[in-house]
Symmetry: C2
Subunit: 317 residues, 2 copies
């Protein structure tokens, strides 16, 4: 159930024409702040605004015609929902999305905009995995999990594959870590192509499940994180993602909500791009002054789905 | 004193390696709203955050070594100041900038960050042209005007040259109009390469000097505009720019401040890019529902220099 570089290359072939080949941004100001040559993979410009489309589309594209006809289900704090909704729509299927009731309104509206049916739950009290299983059994849907799936991991890895094609050799790659799918795919690619690369995961300080799990050598759960980085609030890494990441990730760096806001402000004022809190964690690590990097560094901006009212409330504090 | 396509091509050669070849953005959501295939030239990603770098750098690059050694002067509501400051710095010269005292703080700080000396004046009461002439006489500086200069117009035209190279044939091109330099350069390129193209200028409703001038058949002044589009508040078109634009511009479309804010919000939430008010006027015209276009339409996003606090105050209204 692990993945290889060949799996990611297969995913990249499937995504041609479906996903955007997002740009790699450079900023002299950013380089000067960080003291390294920073290559920013802008997945906020991916379709539906986040890297999640890569894994969702690839996984959905491998379903049988019968499965597509019966429909697709997903649970998600937001971007995976939109990704599955859009993938299902493009593949002529339909999606049912289980979404936390406190998700940003823009994310719910976007999933519905892609034709999905949205069902909400309380992420502090209900178990989304059990709810999703019951829903699939009842309606004959196929569940596309947000990270616990080889095709999802392989699809997400195409972001790093493109970045290395676009930027060339990198000394380090900084990747936000929620459930660990983007990291698992990216680390598989990066360590295969550039064995000496330093893989740095970033988690919110109040959602350090992968850091704790790596230290413990096994999957460890933390309480549901109350962080502005809502996309990274998974209580524990997945078994599949953790099996990859414990082999390939060199370190996990933690960032605070204030550092995330500073990175969002930097991106807005100096790079003229919009990044959601989860998506800004890698940039926040680089701008924190606490993470020491040098040479040629890649960072994935994982998403840009934030509405103006939430941006205003976060950045006006 | 007019310009030709050959002048713009010369400028493009000089700008290679100095200016960014900015991306052309596409958005399915935007296309659906507008009812046309919209190609967005993202000059907010240009160096110093606006197209102004093109004209300023090209004009400065054509000065003699003696002129560069003596120094460069500019008057500007903001982006031209930063453009001249950065161009002077890159060419080993130094810049003195006359800037309205009510310019956004971020623009003044940016010019100073590029090593320029900033001198402020009251744009409601003082004549920046006379002030600049006195300054140049006193210090032996060469003035680079924001639009009344063939090299500046030719440099700005490279934005449209690139857009047509990147996007292919266009049925219409929508360009913000302040002093008219970007439009003069863009219209020269576009009407040469695509004689049937419809050139649509956009001005703020309270700064319609070019529209009135075109209607009158001569340069007409309006009171200093009190619009959020501070970069387009020129009281009258230039003689040089107007001579070009009266030949080549098909129409001027006016947008209100509310429409500009709506376009900034759309760009933020749907395209994940940051646009300053002046830079958003072209997009505002397309999103207004009042401008009828079809087929393949280009629009220049002319700049993205706005700090978070001003964005918050404009979008929280």
């Amino acid at each position: 159930m692990s993945i290889t570089l060949a799996d990611v290359r297969d995913a990249a072939d499937s995504l041609k024409g479906a996903a955007h080949r997002t740009p790699v941004l450079r900023s002299r100001t950013l380089d000067a702040f960080v003291g390294a040559e920073v290559h920013v993979k802008a997945e906020n410009f991916q379709r539906m605004g986040a890297f999640k489309f890569r894994g969702a589309y690839y996984a959905c594209s491998r379903l049988t015609p019968e499965q597509l006809a019966s429909g697709i289900a997903a649970y998600s704090s937001g971007n995976h929902a939109q990704a599955v909704a859009l993938a299902a729509q493009e593949l002529g299927s339909h999606a049912v999305i289980l979404m936390p009731e406190d998700s940003p309104a823009s994310k719910r509206a976007a999933a519905e905009g892609y034709g999905a049916e949205v069902i909400t739950y309380d992420r502090y009290r209900e178990d989304r995995v059990a709810l999703a299983a019951a829903l699939c059994a009842e309606r004959g849907l196929t569940l596309i999990p947000p990270y616990e799936h080889p095709d999802v991991m392989a699809g997400q890895g195409t972001a790093a594959l493109e970045l290395i094609e676009q930027a060339g050799d990198l000394d380090a790659l900084v990747v936000p870590v929620g459930g660990g799918g983007l990291m698992a795919g990216s680390a598989t690619v990066a360590k295969s192509l550039l064995p000496g690369i330093r893989m740095i995961g970033v988690e919110p300080r109040d959602g350090d499940d992968t850091k704790r799990s790596l230290e413990a050598g096994e999957v460890v759960s933390v309480p549901v994180a109350r962080t502005i980085a809502d996309g990274l609030a998974a209580p524990a890494p997945g078994d599949l993602t953790f099996a990859v990441n414990r082999r390939l990730v060199d370190e996990i760096f933690l960032v605070g909500d204030d550092e995330i806001c500073d990175a969002m402000r930097f991106a807005f004022e100096r790079m003229r791009v919009v990044i959601e809190p989860s998506g800004a964690t890698g940039l926040a690590a680089l701008l924190s002054g606490r993470l020491k990097v040098s040479g040629r560094v890649g960072v994935v901006i994982s998403g840009g789905n934030i509405d103006v009212s939430r941006f205003v409330s976060l950045l006006s504090r």
